[in-house]
Subunit: 340 residues, 6 copies
């Protein structure tokens, strides 16, 4: 079984029941989630030996985070315990014209305050085939930048494939700092994944005529951006998720991929949304699975898109679709007929 390693935060996600607004909530659904943890969950679910590396407080809420990861097959052997708190995010589900809303309370978390010697990357990455991180983790703290760099260096030396999801978070750092740091980190990467805003925000590379709010996407623009990213960082693969946001209830979803030679575009799915948070992460998970299991680029892209399409039908950030289920959709069965 292939060993996959992701590094980042895992947060406590608190969501009102159904479509309640925060101010109506009497109960919160409890999930645990995080950009990279979601990818680890996807890969555990696809049968990889999927390790998640993070730091969590020693108390029971920290333990609950570990338990949830274990439950869905993530290996937690390298999770460090200590520090003061687990980051929290409150997530209210939107509907129709009302957008979903996320409130972060992630400051001073155990992972943000982790230290370089908390993690022995030689041992963690021993035997690993793939390492994944996102632009969120280095945004957490300067320590996290250093730790990520440590990981990337060991990974590079050991021939571990490296992927990054740009995932720009404006509440965590400025575009200026993101640009500086990510420019350094992306140099180590083989695969870069981004959505329609990230490349512009982080690297000031603009996708021609795309207007995010209108939900209109322009293929040509994306191609330019992909090419520029590919060239600037010497990447093997650049991939985008293309979301058409018709409303909080209904989205178009597809992906594209550029390998330096050719542009690939996936099938587009029209989605009735159950929970779209983690959609991009499930695309990363699908793409990594596809690329690392020897699919050709078009198939890997289709796998990633189908997997992440299906994620939108699942409560919580973790994608819980099996390889078979993803492949059924890839093969064209989107009929939703009852499987008996």
């Amino acid at each position: 079984m292939k060993k996959f390693v992701a590094f980042g935060e895992v947060m406590l996600r608190l969501s009102p029941i159904g479509y309640e607004r925060f101010v109506q909530a009497k109960q919160f659904n409890v999930f645990f989630a995080g950009g990279e943890a979601n990818v680890a969950a996807s890969l555990a679910n696809f049968g990889l030996d999927s390790y998640y590396v993070t730091k969590l407080p020693a108390h029971e809420i920290g333990q609950a985070a570990i338990n949830e990861m274990r439950r869905f097959g993530i290996k937690t052997d390298f999770v460090v315990r200590g520090g003061n708190r687990i980051g929290v995010y409150f997530c209210e589900k939107g509907a129709s014209q009302r957008p979903s809303k996320v409130i972060y309370d992630r400051g001073a978390s155990s992972i943000a305050e982790a230290k370089r010697d908390d993690f022995d990357w030689k041992s963690i990455l021993n035997g690993a085939k793939w390492f994944h991180f996102t632009g969120i983790t280095p945004a957490l703290s300067d320590n996290c930048i250093d730790i990520t760099l440590d990981a990337l260096k060991v990974a590079k030396e050991s021939g571990v494939a490296i992927s990054v999801d740009l995932n720009y978070r404006n509440k965590l750092w400025s575009t200026k700092k993101a640009n500086e740091v990510m420019t350094e980190l992306v140099k180590y990467c083989d695969v870069l994944i981004a959505n329609e805003e990230d490349a512009e925000k982080v690297f000031d590379i603009k996708a021609g005529k795309t207007d995010v709010k209108e939900g209109k996407l322009c293929d040509e623009g994306y191609k330019e951006v992909a090419k520029e990213l590919h060239n600037r960082f010497g990447l093997k693969i650049v991939a985008f998720t293309l979301r058409e946001s018709h409303s909080a209830s209904y989205n178009g979803w597809s992906g594209m991929l550029y390998d330096g030679k050719q542009y690939y575009k996936s099938k587009k799915y029209d989605i009735n949304i159950i929970d779209r948070v983690g959609g991009g992460d499930s695309f990363c998970g699908g793409l990594i699975y596809g690329l690392s299991s020897g699919m050709d680029n078009q198939s890997a892209l289709e796998f990633a898109t189908a997997a992440s399409c299906l994620k939108h039908s699942i409560e919580g950030d973790f994608n819980m679709m099996s390889i078979d289920e993803v492949q059924n959709l890839m093969k064209g069965d989107a009929s939703g007929r009852v499987q008996r």
Copy 2:
């Protein structure tokens, strides 16, 4: 902060969980609601000094109604306690071709049996800028007609702007009595709001070729009705909500307004419905906010329509959208993208 006053009933709303039918219900969700109370909630939410005037029994269910209003910012200083019961309505949520169903149990409520001297309108309306009521309240009892008249007279004398939502309820009174009473009451009003059926039911003014069941609405017809209402009662503003009922899950929604000079039509929204009860009330709330805060007529109408569009995504009758959220939609962001 502007003082706004509404008068009417507040009821206990009992709804099965999710899409359960009444006969399946093992639990009811508990809301408190009422045509005018819903407007008061909208205005409290938009930051006005929003007072609700009603009568509630002295027991704990009456107290719970007060608590719920207070929770969402409504001032309850003028709520009278006494009488025997709080009105109840059972509300089953429909889906697709199955309509929502409302069963009223509102007879002999404290407010229906309230007396004129329960309310000291001079003191209640002291300093108020706006007074709102609906056609439901005078339908509750003859006492309620008298009390409403008392309020209207004091309001008129004090220069308080007055709005009415026709809201015809055939279970409460005949069209004949409604016609008589509302003809008297509307004379005091500055602003009248109605939906596609009310004008015909109450004042026998027919909107040309509209067939409510078909969900088809005819602009010309509405203009005629608006003009007729405007002229007959000397109103400043007549506004309509225009609902296209495609199914219990999916509606078109827009508004129109006539100010004696010009017809204004709002943007139309296609809505995936979470809970449509209170939709018209949230339009009133938005319109009153818009008009009383100095928006021009088109903007006030757009604000009202956007606010009430968003209400359809919220469980319960109270609209819980902030001014910012409404304005974002007015400005065209209906993409439902996650707000982080």
Copy 3:
């Protein structure tokens, strides 16, 4: 009141809350259901004297099944108690491109292991007007084939109308055995109902160019199949449900009927799905009600289609729509407007 009798299994249905996947579930919603029991529920709901015949274990879960049937008006006087277990099925609700999933655990149930002398059909069918079964029941066990035959013979002798829903279940028997057995049983029937796959699976009669996964249905094909079934078994009525599976959230739904002389096609409904399990059964229920209450064939078909359209908006397998509600939809009111 007309006496209606159905025979078959009633199972414990366990469903995760909302759209949770099985592996996420902390609670299961508890329903009781079964192909024929669902029809009995429809008919009880339409006011018939609706008896359900089955065998259930003597313990409290068996009792709960009886209680649930009684609750919805089914007469349980002829339910036999004994045997070891009630069949169970786990049912996960799909959404958008993710299909619903059913896991059966129905082996060795009390009804599968029932014996011929558990049921005194003379007494059970005394005074009955209609008998209904499906292709599921004889698939449960050889005993069940014999018991069904016993019932059919008594029914035939007594002039009871007989209907069958083909309902092929590939986990219960082979197409070969199904063909043998159903060929024998259908000979007793007056009315046969099937969906797009059953006729092919059970009788190897193919509906020309229909591709189930694509959700495309070909009218001509269905007519051929209906004609062939009608001729082969001397049926009075052959009816089909025609489902267009766009996704797990959205389906087209209509029916057709052939009476040996003419083809009837119903109105088609576009449905936002709440719970589609039991949709076909509610069509049977509607059709039996229509035919047995003297509607003409077109009306009976429209009633069946409208009733089953509405079923898709209801949680659980049992259809809970009244005659009035079905007729409102038949008459064209699909607007979903609030009924006050």
Copy 4:
């Protein structure tokens, strides 16, 4: 199977979840209950042919009441549909020193406004062995007094045994009117059941030194009261429930019975309370079952006391203990050991 008939109200009971106070409740648990309906439920559960006679509105909440009764085996053939509303009672569960709280909203219910010709007692009581009512029903309205009298006369003529539970409700009528009416009605009765307060409130017969609030009960006092009731009304059996209210969580519970010759006292149970509402009714149910199935007086009393002891462990008003379960406790197994 013996036919048993009870007459009275069935109400919608709305209870906050767990130990929440009314003002905290976001959901209410939905039960249906009523003094006599609870007795009917007990007897249906013990296998009698148990009919409940009442009037319920024609709407779906009325239907839900019928469904709930049917679910638990009560025959609803003689339930009349019509009138305006079902009575409601709100019930908050107490704990420790905090008492449970009941708020009634039962005015103008269908049963309170029922008319004499709604009920054909000859047909209803045809073949019946036992008729039961409580002091609540005649307190609902003068019509209800007449209807009760009608029933009693037919029952008396037909040799049906008659039981009454005094059940004084001070919110429904004065002690004076209760005295007048019940004096008339009790004359028809064979069996009278009461708790520690009823005899005093209704008939001004005082149980010597009992102080209800102190939870102290005096045997001698009860004997005097029983004797006086027996003599005054020519009763065959007078029975009391004896509750020692230590707190809302913990009660002592026993019963006594007087047959004109001898005083019987039951075993006393110390109870950890789950839901004590309906405790007295379940005693009536047990006693009627015991007496009508030929138990001797001591056994009938022990059965009644054990049955009602167990009721305190059950959510809702209906007792759901089987004969076997009651008898196990009667025989002395109060260990609560797991039954596998």
Copy 5:
């Protein structure tokens, strides 16, 4: 109506459902609570004009905290909005020998980082009769010490009565710092409330032979402590809550009070616990109500003890007992009999 002011933190309390452990939780119940906020809730509930002063972030979770306070009658006019986060505490309910468990995540909250000029105490305390704080607030930050001092000085100058609950929290500060700071602050106070551990921890005043874990309390020891506190700080009233912790399910509860002349001891209650968090705060609330409404010391103590006894039967930190309910218990009715 008397104006009461409390100052401190209000936190988001997250509790697993029922008796689940943290690691089992799939949902958290949402409460808002805080030592002083709980007192404010008590006093609002007793009808005082109860103001709470704190700082909360401008986001919706902060708003939800305000809404919850408003719901239960607390005036929030002086709540400052801003800062980064609301403190959180996770609270797992224990049972029998398993203790309840609290995990704090309160660092860097808006109130801990509030500044002196956030609060205009002249205006806040204008017209106030009473000011209350606890030892928790100055422990939050040095700023909070200064703000508290500001408040105390204005209160003192204005003749506002001042009470403090020692409430030592070892996770927030050392006993040494607590001693220094509280020595300064308590000098301003009229009334001091403490439990069995606080006086020792904060002021190193030991209650002779009390062993907290054993749940044994020694009256003499408490008297010594009370006297010492009284003398050291020139207090008018020193009061203690006396908890006998038999288990997480069952406690003894009483209070004592010393006024410099006499020792008063309350009745002792044996409590079946529903939720004991906030028990001490509800004692403070009861005592302040009693003392400020002119009760004599014994009555005020009994009122406080009865009120806080009843709090143990209520979910969440806020006490929701009315004056009548408290007085019923004071008068000796602890029977828990149903109130109809």
Copy 6:
């Protein structure tokens, strides 16, 4: 970390919410449990390398069982997938005099139909320190007897310590067969655990004057039984759980141990029960932990008794108490005071 291995069934446990009876349930709580799995959970929780060996169907409910075990730290590497079903047990929680009720539906489960070559015991037990099974597993099927024997032989050869919990289940086999089989299997064991009924049922060794229903236990009787078991099977340790069943809500609980030389008796705990299912298993878990970690016999017994006392406060079969929490209770802190 020590490797521990348990072998047996894991079942789906379905329990109504709170204290509902089966016939009231609309939802079931979902747990996964089994005699040996519960022990494995205890040991995983205490930090051992705890492996569970079973066979589960390949479908998602089987996967959910694995996920739940992983969640709580059990290693599932040796779980075999296949077969038809997971055993189910329905578990209704009793209260006061009403006992809890368990309905088994475990026939034809994957583990009952497992084959000897499904398990490679050499590899499974490689490096193990301890092996545990119960009398339930060999009762499932003859195959299970063989598989257990295979395991015992390998364990014995490899010097793995072996423990057995007698756990007689009369629904699975006769006392005669149990006697035969267990006589053979217990010969391999070092440690035997039993409750008050098992020794008598399985080996016809009677504990003198104990009357289980009375909840009275006689020390002398237990000593005789322990001695007899010790001698008959050459055991190192015989231990008993001693349950005093006062009611379903309240039990006494203690343990005793005999090592061939001395009798040890634990402290006795009086327990308010939350969920007593799995109580005996948690005693086994505690005892194995104690003995295998080098505690002396008295300490190991106290640890086992304290751990299992605490289990009674936890929902579900798995014990979720940490070593620290158990030791706090062992040391005498049963006060249930809030841990902050």
